[in-house]
């Protein structure tokens, strides 16, 4: 590895960030565009709302449609109407309009769904990104948060009151779709049974009849059950989340190690054998990333590196050091060719570092849950050298053995494995997608399902049900029938 020693901290940061990229994507729901031609029904909707209604015949429709997707790979699907809501009342009007006019609705918020599952060829897309309220009750450690609030902003706001919530690892992902799909969140192992959605104690939701309802364990409990994991298949628009918060860490203490690709099985063994013995507040993940500017003709061990990232949510430095001691003393870290050690981190630092790896580029991704990462990483490691995407980053995160509450979020295992693919040239898109599909078809038999928010819904829609247990999938269908008998909301992407 002749070049490794020359790696500057800047390169390390950048590549490290690439590794720990977009763990959690947000999917809002839908957005709707209507065209207020004088006398048209869309004009009637426009007259009732403070937001914006755009329809296909509008001159700027294509710009609006594309703007709904955050990243640069713009799915070629065209809803009849996009409604950018500026209030919950707008959302209610939009849903009523959809119901009255037989339009099927979806919702988007930040548009981070890599599959752009909110974008459909018919119906109404409701954009709720403007719903951005945050109200914190320090005494009860709770917060009421609008769907459009970004994970980074939420963490900063909560810090003012000494609180924290397991937000997405990528700071510009709003909480909406991220939470509804389950939420693989920062320190969720310690705080919320491995998935952030279990920190949601209530929701305010616009149901298919246009009514605003509250749902919790005691009020509309079946709706609450569905919202905690139903994600893009939820039959309603959640306009506010009631969150249980936690005492903010005094420091996010950690290390990042750069390891040679030859250490892949050693790192995986470490992940399997050692990481589960650590305190739940120590979050460990590793990712494999290509070293910039290395020819594809080189052997894999010269093209790739591994980034092992450790973050302990601790009261102070002493506690942080104690929590990560088993890692810093572990032989695997002696294989490192470079490292950042003893990092006294913060949410600001975490999110800043992560930004570098999540440029607004062309993306796709897929994911699985596994009990043991060994076989999955063997398969991925074998396939990786032939990956056609210029940048591909498999990632393994330990989220802990958990005893989870009953909710739609029903697929889970202690190891989360995702692969992200990034490209620049259009010609690379189709081969990258095909590679991912083939790879995850191989992984499916050893997986315990996938995470809906980072599942390749476009590439393997037939496996979308596998993001839920068979019982939860059936119950979601039954509740949809009950709450949305006429189908005001679209079903999951690719489902009849």
């Amino acid at each position: 590895m002749p070049n490794n020693a020359r790696w500057s901290r800047r390169h390390l940061l950048k590549a490290g960030a690439i590794a720990s990229v977009p763990l959690a994507t947000g999917i809002g729901g839908c957005s709707i565009f209507s065209k207020p031609t004088a006398g048209s029904k869309a004009a009637a909707l426009q007259a009732k709302i403070g937001g914006t209604v755009v329809v296909k015949s509008d001159a700027a429709y294509e710009a609006w449609r594309k703007a709904m997707i955050w990243q640069l790979a713009k799915a070629d699907r065209k809803p009849d109407m996009i409604v950018q809501a500026t209030s919950t009342a707008d959302v209610q009007e939009a849903v009523r309009y959809a119901a009255k006019n037989g339009m099927k609705a979806t919702t988007r918020c930040g548009g981070h769904s890599m599959a752009a599952c909110f974008l459909r060829d018919t119906g109404m897309l409701i954009d709720i990104g403007h719903l951005d309220g945050v109200e914190v009750d320090k005494a009860t450690k709770t917060a009421k948060v609008g769907p459009g609030v970004f994970s980074r902003g939420l963490s900063e706001r909560l810090l003012e009151d000494g609180l924290a919530f397991p937000g997405a690892h990528c700071g510009t992902v709003p909480i909406s779709g991220y939470l509804l799909g389950g939420g693989v969140g920062l320190n969720a192992n310690e705080w919320t049974h491995g998935l952030s959605v279990f920190g949601v104690k209530g929701i305010d939701i616009v149901t298919p009849d246009g009514e605003m309802r509250h749902a919790s364990e005691t009020e509309n409990p079946d709706l609450f059950w569905a919202a905690r994991g139903g994600g893009p298949g939820l039959f309603g628009v959640v306009t506010q989340f009631h969150l249980q918060c936690f005492d903010a860490p005094g420091v996010i203490w950690g290390d990042t190690y750069v390891l040679p690709y030859t250490a892949l099985s050693a790192v995986t063994d470490f992940m399997r054998d050692t990481v589960p013995t650590l305190d739940r507040s120590v979050e460990v993940l590793y990712a494999v990333a290509a070293i910039p500017d290395k020819s594809k003709d080189l052997p894999a061990e010269e093209r790739f590196q591994i980034f092992l990232d450790v973050n302990a949510f601790a009261k102070d430095e002493a506690e942080g050091r104690r929590k990560v001691a088993a890692i810093t003393n572990h032989p695997v870290t002696s294989l490192a060719v470079d490292a950042i050690r003893d990092r006294a981190g913060s949410y600001d630092r975490y999110y800043s570092d992560n930004e570098a790896g999540f440029p607004q580029a062309h993306w796709m991704g897929d994911s699985i849950w596994v009990d043991d990462p060994t076989e999955a990483m063997r398969i991925i490691g074998e396939a990786l050298p032939d990956c056609p995407a210029p940048r591909a980053a498999p990632l393994v995160l330990y989220t802990g053995e958990q005893d989870q509450p009953d909710a739609a979020a029903s697929r889970y295992a202690p190891y989360y494995i995702a692969c992200y693919f990034e490209w620049d040239e259009e010609a690379d898109e189709a081969p990258s997608r095909a590679f991912s599909r083939e790879l995850f078809k191989k992984l499916k038999p050893i997986a315990r399902g996938s995470y809906i928010n980072e599942m390749d819904q476009e590439g393997r829609p037939e496996d979308v049900p596998d993001c839920y247990s068979p019982e939860a999938w059936a119950r979601l269908a039954q509740l949809r029938k009950q709450w949305d008998p006429t189908g005001v909301f679209h079903d999951f992407y690719g489902q009849a």
Partner: protein, 368 residues
Amino acid sequence: MKKLYGTALAACAAALVAGMSLNANAQAEATDDPEQVVRDLYTAFEEGDMAAIETLIAPDATWTYYGPPSALPFGGVRRGPEGVGDFFAKVAETLDNPVAGQTRFLVDGDTVIVPGFEESTVKKTGIRYRADNVHIFKVRDGKIVQFEEFIDSGKVLLAFQGDDSVAVGKSAAAAVATPARAEGKIDKSVGKALFTTCVGCHGDDGQGRAMMYAPNLTGLDSVYITRQLENFRQGRRGKIEDAHGFPMVGRATAIGDAENLAAVVRYIGALPDAPAAKVAQRTAPAGLAGQLATCATCHGQNGEGNAQMGGPAINTLDSDYIALQLANFRSGIRGYDENDGQGQLMAAAAAAIPSDDDVVRIAEHYGR
């Protein structure tokens, strides 16, 4: 945001003045809800729906625009639908491309309070002014019985008197109102579509979010916004060490071609201005007179900005943001590129600030 006073509106006003028969056959279902009545009125204005306007205004309603009628033709108190028609006729006679927007609807019993803004070009002087306003409506039995417009009519008066210190659109880009606005229609422009990605950090109305380390964008000269977006796109700003600037590189690049860039800048330029810090009322920090004089050269005496010098307004930025940027300029994180002339100038000026404490004091002097 909705636009008021469009061309349709002028037509409607003219019709009212001419005493055209206003039949009610196009009327939407009547409502007694005060907020809905007011919203219906704005909608009727947008659509030039004369029948609706007549039914929404009580025969004995008072319609007041606070300002001297002798100098502002639409100023003073008017009565009934005919008075309202006269009001808009005067608007149409004296103003070009009037645009208005409502930011909120606050309801207190039968009273509806609507903060917003108005932007118009005075025909006789050619000066385009932009003023924040508040409309207060009183509604009874589904009809508006009282309307009051509180506006910075001093600013409007100066525009009528030819004082271009109140002119907006010091740059060519800002001078062009979005076509949608000019037509008095809902803004569905490309610029607004592109701004969708901006709201999460910069706020729904571009007024900034401290919790995202993102500054207010409103009230800034369009040339300045364009230059900064180009800086991000060209690698002249937002290097990876600039933790809170780096994310803008991707966003600015993703805006797309020059046409898209202009569209989003136009949209931002038309957003209601954020309130400015009252710098004039503050005591200047001791011992920094020389520094403040340097600031004032490009940013104006009270941080209001100086478009000719390329210095943006800084009195609408949070103190924390100003301090962070000054620190970035001082440490080479911003203003590092030789093709960013203004940035390099700023880096040199920031380097001359005696201490980090003084950076904070200067930031607090100018910031919100």
